[in-house]
Amino acid sequence: MLEYKKDGWKAALCLAPSLLLMCVFTFWPIINSFIMSFLNNYHFALNREDVYNTFMGVEKSYTYIMGGRFTGIGIQNFITLFRDKDFLMALKNTAFIVFISVPATVIIALLIAVGLNSIKAFRGFFQTIFFLPYVTNTIALGLVFNSLFHVDYGLVNKLFNLVGTSWINSGATWGRAMFVLFIYSIWDGLAFKIIVFLSGLQNIDKQYYQAAQIDATPRWRVFTRITVPLLSPMILYITITSFMGAFKVYSSVIGIFGTGRYGPVGNEKLLITIVGYVYEQFGVQGMPFGVGSAGSTVLFLIILLITLVQMQVSKKWVHY
């Protein structure tokens, strides 16, 4: 670009389509969601008549806004949220997925990428295989895992002589169901991470390795003192984005257990996640979006906090 020029109106023209759409579908939702979490008892209705009919004759006074009604401004939603045992369950489940499956996946992916980088035969072939999960459909995959761990007919039970032990069918315990979710998350998450790590590894100048070779550096020390530090920006990027994505876990659970179910038959809320909890509000009578939005806001704050912590930690460990 030419430095002196001011492209104000031209830029406005170019950005107009994007920004207009984003105003409606991105910025507004953020603001709206934030507001809704502070509107006590906010319930949404599809049309005016519904609003009128549903809430006629109830003592409390309501204010109408944005197609729904609420009773006051405050943190009532948050209180309801944290009193709801389903939400607490969701927090616990989500925490498990985030803090256990993500680090595991990152480490496994890193080892695979380093391994792939060092072998010469069939590297392209293996690369293709490891990337396959990236193009799978979450629901279809959920169905596959569902059948893999089926109590009577699944491969896992047949292979390890465990027929009758329920992983995802009725009677499954929390531990076993969570295990299935772990394996699913790891399987699904490897592809992206491996590719990013591999490209980062290939960008490391070979001369560093040659210099280390001349100095008779043992393999593990090459890995810890050279490869990992030089790869640390990638590792940070992957860790941050993976954590962010893991907090949003939802489709995988639905895929494994079915629409609206987060657990086996008979215990459908077993593995409910934060996002799942929020979406559940759609099904409740009167659509209490206030609570759901509060849940979203809480989730956002958690993500923000964890990301900031990571950035802080990265100052010491990441070398550019």
Partner: protein
Amino acid sequence: MERELYLNPKELKRYKIGTGIGRFFTYLYVIIMAVFIVVPFLWMIFSSLKPTEEIISREITFLPRTWAWSNYSKLFTGIQSIDPYGQPYYSFKPIPFHWMFFNTIVVGFFTTAGTVVTTILAAFAFSRLNFKGRETLFTILLATMMIPGEVFVITNYMTLSRYTGWIKSANHLENYAALIFPFITSVFYTFFLRQTFKQIPNELYLAAKVDGTSDFKYLMKVMIPLSQATITTIIILSMIGTWNAYIWPSFVTNSIYTEQLLVSNGLMAGLRGASETTGPNSVLNLQLAASTMVTVPLLIIFFSFKKYILRGVSRSGIKG
């Protein structure tokens, strides 16, 4: 101080064996992980072709003993039984794959087309035009990527249901509108394309300016052709995204109207409760056949466009 340099053949041999063992374990690890990745695919494909007797039997068979190709036709025709009153009913409803594929392609096409247009314009503005607040605006956009998705889903649902009749509409076209509009722009792709645009040397722009080329012409004649690879990647990833979309469509489409379903939703609706079927009624193989139907097109796309997908993913990681 001990030095193992300048040595004898025995130490040399020991060293060589050490390296060989290291290599062996690396290969072993990579192969084991590759098997881990491939097993679900193979299980899905082969089990989809097993007749029900094999599925429910106790033994493990890898390849089907009898190839039950009819499983696939059953997906389309459904399974009929007679109820106690002598009336025929579907114990397994046919899954409308043709509609699912068609809808998804149509929605994907328009979404991608819209995304490409808005993204190109926006990326151009952010990379080549000068205007006040450019960097600030861009940072804000990036920050929105951190917001969890349900924030958008809830409000967009509200917006669309209040101001349009598109939500859960019986009208097929209106349903399309609801599916397409919120996704005609994307911060992620804008960011990605901006990176590519920035890598086009500024000198080309200056040379074009000296020749009197307008900005718009420069965009069309120079920048877009030079960024073909990235744009192709965006198109492919966007199409795959629509193929795998689940959450928004599930809220926006009324599953009663089976001809409106997209791929993921169709799968979900059609296979409700499938894993609970037992004995001769077990439709596990059909469940897997459905997954295969949905996955195979993706695999075809993947193998045809492997290069673009891989490059796009690894590029997005480098800047990160």
